[in-house]
Symmetry: C2
Subunit: 742 residues, 2 copies
């Protein structure tokens, strides 16, 4: 691939981006698309504007300006701490890659270009390899520039990482401090309640906590397992609700407290009163006790405590001399609870974790197939030999360039679309009791998956086109740095086109919201359904964070060897900054908070990228026979490792546990202002399973919570406060026009 081909590729992508952005700026002004592009706004805002003017059909950059002007505080209130953390990843990447780009383009790139290994041609026909380290001859005196760049990048990255970690830790603490009404702070999930023939689970829980935590125990609420009939009924109820919402309730403005909303105004499925409900709860228990056929109550419960500190303490201590009984952990936020997994017996969890890990690894290896095929495409000559009938078309220059320059990445991207749902399924089976936990687990898996498949596998299958050979290659761990050092520059063009296609074009897709747009189109113009509620989505952190981190990883590992990639990456991160901000303000809603829990993962990945960069540099210096540079690189690896250890000590515990100091102070504040009673009252209503399996809470109310366990598209479920307000306000907005003026 020469510079001209790279230009073609970049040109195509720039054109695509410009077209898409213009299209977006027009589409978003159309009233019919408001559900697609303003999901979040609609859920909170109902102002209207329906002027039919020329403005609606003229592309504009107003959305970019708006995204730029939004402050971090505004983002915090609309998108929550997680969205701010997400934006910090982008800001961090922008900063570090700006530094890297300046260093590498102005210092390293000239050294590479002036190397004498490869012959020079006219600039447009110059191959990309001329700009990589492949052009630097053995024992060159100028390798110290690479070492210097390594030092600059590593130290700036560490300083920036430290600053970010400190800042996010502070934000997390402020977030906890600023949410005094969060019921999850008072609640502990107890699992593996031992079964006794004499008493029900509920009685066991009450007895146990009354005995050992009398002073702080408030009440509890059992978890129920709904049978098939219940599931069918709740599905029917859901359908019914949606239909009624659309047809009848357009005039009603919803004003009830979150859970209480679902079905509250429909006649056929009225909420049962507290008394009758708790009576039903009892009858369930009796069924369970005598018949033993309808096993409703699970060995799990939510236990409420009087103070936050008591809840945290109880969640941390070891309760029973059998560590597999009375297992406690802090409860997730009400909307974050993944009810289906609360039914899983605690004793299964460890084996589920192992099994899902094995499944994820197996999936990772099976996925080698598409990657190999993709790599085949980047080497047209090899492909020609393997599949002879392609010889004709491949001789045409344009097709060949398209095939080698653009198509491989597209195939890879399409194949990658299957990964998040599968990883999410695996993470669901793992047994996390919170949606955020499941998402975080999926995020981990997808991250490792992408790094493994895009990076390692591409690097190695790229050089020799056989899958079996990889294993033999990975055998000699000692030679790995050298192999990487020689393989990565050779794969420069793949990484560049990957940044262009998967990066730039991927962002354009994200902005256009292709799938919801298509759904909306089909519903509107084919099925002619004008008022159809689309579930608003929460931000897909589990797919977007790995994507950003992968580009960061590619950036770090390539920076010294292929500096030409850095400007493209900078453009990517700049686009990402505006587009994701826009999406967070307009499209996605916040359903629950992890409280910045994604950051440690990000930190670790960046550290991993840095170490990989250094190891590959070691390989480079080894191949180029520059012992001095190698000698200077080793302390850098040690420094990075020590820095990581220090950060683990300094910041990580805050992400793993709640800080006692803060919780105690909050408890005292509550007491001081007499809020305690009020909070305790609200607690009982906070956690509620689906109405058909109402709580056996010792004091619980009977608010309801929509319970979803769809696996394939878990983010399209619509539980909770914000969602409950979506459909009516949406219909109002869509009737009255475009929300550009909102």
């Amino acid at each position: 691939m020469n510079l001209a081909a790279l230009g073609t590729s970049a040109g195509i992508n720039v054109a695509v981006c410009v077209v898409v952005f213009s299209l977006y700026s027009i589409l978003r002004k159309q009233p019919s698309q408001v559900t697609v592009y303003f999901g979040r706004r609609l859920s909170t805002d109902t102002r209207k504007s329906n002027k039919l003017c020329l403005d609606r059909f003229v592309p504009s950059a107003s959305w970019i300006v708006k995204a730029w002007k939004t402050t971090e505080d505004e983002l915090l209130t609309t998108g929550g701490l997680d969205s701010v953390v997400f934006m910090r990843i982008i800001v961090f990447s922008l900063r570090i890659f700006s530094i890297a780009a300046i260093t590498c383009v102005f210092i390293v790139l000239p050294v590479n270009y002036r190397g004498k290994v490869l012959g020079h041609k006219r600039i447009p026909l110059e191959t990309l390899e001329v700009f990589t380290i492949l052009n630097v001859q053995e024992g060159s005196k100028w390798l110290w520039t690479h070492c210097l760049a390594l030092y600059v990048i590593t130290f700036s990255a560490c300083v920036l990482l430290y600053v970010e970690y400190k800042r996010i830790t502070k934000m997390r603490l402020a977030h906890i401090n600023g949410s005094p009404l969060n019921p999850s702070h008072f609640t502990v999930v107890v699992r593996a309640i031992p079964w006794s023939p004499e008493e029900s689970y509920g009685d066991s829980v009450r007895k146990f906590f009354m005995k050992y935590h009398e002073s702080s125990y408030l009440s509890h609420q059992m978890v129920y397992r709904s049978g098939r009939v219940q599931k069918l009924m709740s599905n029917a109820r859901k359908m019914c609700k949606i239909l009624k919402d659309v047809s009848i309730e357009q005039k009603h403005k919803p004003g009830l407290y979150h859970c209480g909303f679902c079905g509250a105004h429909s006649d056929s499925f009225k909420i049962l009163s507290h008394e009758s409900e708790s009576a039903r709860g009892k009858s369930f228990l009796i069924d369970d006790g005598y018949g033993g056929k309808r096993k409703k109550v699970c060995a799990a419960a939510f236990v409420f405590f009087k103070t936050r500190y008591a809840a945290v303490v109880t969640s941390q201590v070891l309760h029973s001399s059998n560590p597999m009984q009375w297992v406690t952990q802090l409860a997730p936020e009400p909307h974050d609870v993944y009810w289906s997994n609360l039914w899983i017996p605690y004793g299964q969890l460890w084996i589920r974790k192992i099994a899902t890990l094995v499944a994820a690894v197996a999936f990772m290896l099976v996925f080698l197939l598409p990657v190999t095929i993709v790599q085949g495409m980047t080497h047209a000559d090899k492909l020609q030999k393997t599949i002879p009938f392609l010889e004709g078309p491949l001789k045409r220059k344009f097709i060949s360039q398209l095939l080698t320059g653009y198509l491989p990445s597209v195939v890879l991207i399409v194949a990658f679309y299957t990964v998040p749902p599968i990883m999410m399924l695996i993470s669901t089976l793992e047994g996390s009791i919170s949606r955020s936990g499941r998402k975080k687990s999926a995020c981990f898996k997808i991250l490792y998956f992408t790094i493994w498949n895009v990076f390692v596998m591409n690097v190695f299958t790229g050089t020799v086109m056989d899958t079996v050979g990889i294993i033999n290659k990975l055998d000699s761990v000692k030679d790995l740095p050298a192999q990487l050092a020689s393989a990565i520059p050779a794969q420069a063009k793949f990484f560049m086109t990957y940044v262009l296609s998967s990066g730039w074009a991927g962002l354009a897709c994200e902005l256009m919201q292709l799938y919801p747009l298509l759904c909306n189109f089909i519903r509107r113009y084919i099925f002619r359904m004008k008022d159809w509620a689309i579930g608003t989505m929460s931000f897909p952190y589990h797919t977007e964070i790995p994507r950003l981190l992968l580009f960061g990883f590619i950036g770090f590992t390539c920076s010294i060897m292929v500096p030409l990639i850095l400007p493209f990456l900078l453009v990517y991160f700049t686009l990402a900054y505006f587009i994701y901000r826009n999406q967070m303000i307009n499209v996605y809603i916040r359903k629950y908070e992890t409280g910045g829990h994604f950051w440690p993962l990000v930190h670790n990945t960046v550290i991993f990228s840095l170490v990989m960069m250094q190891i590959i540099a070691l390989g480079v210096f080894g191949l180029r026979q520059s012992p001095v540079s190698s000698g200077f690189t080793i302390p850098l690896v040690i420094f990075t490792f020590l820095f990581n250890q220090y950060c683990r000590q300094r910041f990580l515990p805050v992400f793993k546990n709640h800080v006692a100091e803060i919780l105690i102070d909050m408890d005292r504040e509550d007491e001081k202002y007499g809020r305690t009673e009020e909070i305790h009252q609200q607690l009982h209503a906070a956690y509620c399973q689906s109405p058909s399996t109402s709580p056996d809470s010792s004091m619980a109310g009977s608010y309801h919570h929509q319970e979803e366990d769809s696996i394939q598209d878990p983010e399209n479920v619509t539980p909770g406060k914000e969602v409950s307000q979506v459909s009516p306000s949406w219909s109002i907005a869509s009737t009255f026009g475009a929300p550009e003026a909102i």
Copy 2:
């Protein structure tokens, strides 16, 4: 090496053992050696018997009978839970290797012997290889017997391990439940107290705990760092005390409460009264505050709580939003505290841990040298080539046999004597604040060290005599099982002689207590000092547990390939059973308890041994081309792994944390029987540093604790209750004669 040579070697060792045991049974009856062989008894018992009769000079087996008759309960009271756990390791090994010996000798050994790879000779001249798996030809139909043996050993080991783990967990809980007066249950060590210019550390601690843990906070006691003058003074005091003890205080029977003993009756170093002491404490603080030169108070303190539960809770929560401040952990037992390390700033710990780990690994690699030399000796022919002048002596058969059969192990053992002190030094620098923690850390390091050096290195250096080659060999991880499978049977003779020399002879040395015996001899007959106090030792778990586990490891890995080793191992464990019991009853004292903390390490090592056995078996079946057997072995590996995971879930948490249920029940018992006040009174006196750096406790008394930081022989220090009673009673006993009748 043939059977005759093995016979010679075994014969020498049996003879040595018989002689040593006879000598021991005579020596222990001599009044002059009573300090060597009855250290523990002397410290608690003062009955006497000085009959000069013929019995004293006739060898007897009475000590074996006595060791056999001692019940586990008696052992528990004399040696504590740790000694029982240690004996359980031996019992477990005896059981599993009995099963393995029966299986392998009766099923596997005949199959090996009837193999046709090697030619047969007359039985005495038969080489050892004939009895190993080397004699089984490729594709043999009889390899299923090896697979069967593998199954039998793995499943019996798992069942036995489970039973032991359960039993020891129960014992641990009973031990905690049975020690209501243990001050460590009420005490938390706080480190990294933030420094403020306005107030002293002591005031900070008081303020912090009064603010956040008002209801449960009782008092605290600061930790002081003694300067050089203090150290000199305390050394002088120690010398003075010893001299006085011997010369004056023989008539005093010590009856004071532990710490209060040291120096209590001497005139020159009287205990200062409570008032003056606390005044001194204040003056220290002022010195610290104004001068800043004599930094006495450390940023660490012992904080006492009213209940056990409160202490456990406080030790577990995260106190500050800066996780590197106000770090808490449960305090070790008073005699277990390693005061010198309490002075280390908390911020250094993480880097110390990394540095010591690196140091340990470096030491491990440097130690390759003696191992290589040793291996050279087992191959006389190779040695002959390397060092030509040895050619003459090596031609004589006896010298050659001695050199190849016995000497290598002796050299190795001597070299190994340097390992425990060095590892102990490294573990001390690691910064553990308890002696038991330090010992456990050293135990870990010594274990990895021995397994690495004795096993892995011997196996690989044995086949090719170059050290550099090893690294290249370890490169291809995939071929490791096959390499091990071919190398281990070839090293059969080394392992056998190692069991004979290091195992049997090592036990004999342990029984004879060579070093104390020598010291005693020198003091008595050369310096003519009749009454010299030898510090009584606590049991060296950190050297003995790795030794046992190493033999277990060798047993497991060799069982299938070299079944002939199993009878020797069984003899070793039987001897160990009697000798260690005898030593625990008579020689060693208990200074502190870890509460069975060594067992998880043992469990993990056994699991590791099992997995190694299976992996090596995989290699064997691979080499012998038996895919069916290989296929049956893989599920076994998975099963072992899952079993380990289950045990981690089921038992490990009890060893890491205290159980809230039990502690709360104990607290209630105390309250019920009105013991609370009494316990609180005792708490203040429990933890006391050396008298020169007396506490700034808000309520503390002024008892003293002998503070030692000798590194090289850390177990010879004599702090605490039992030790304080040693010297006087010893002098009485040694005056009146042999304690055979005790």
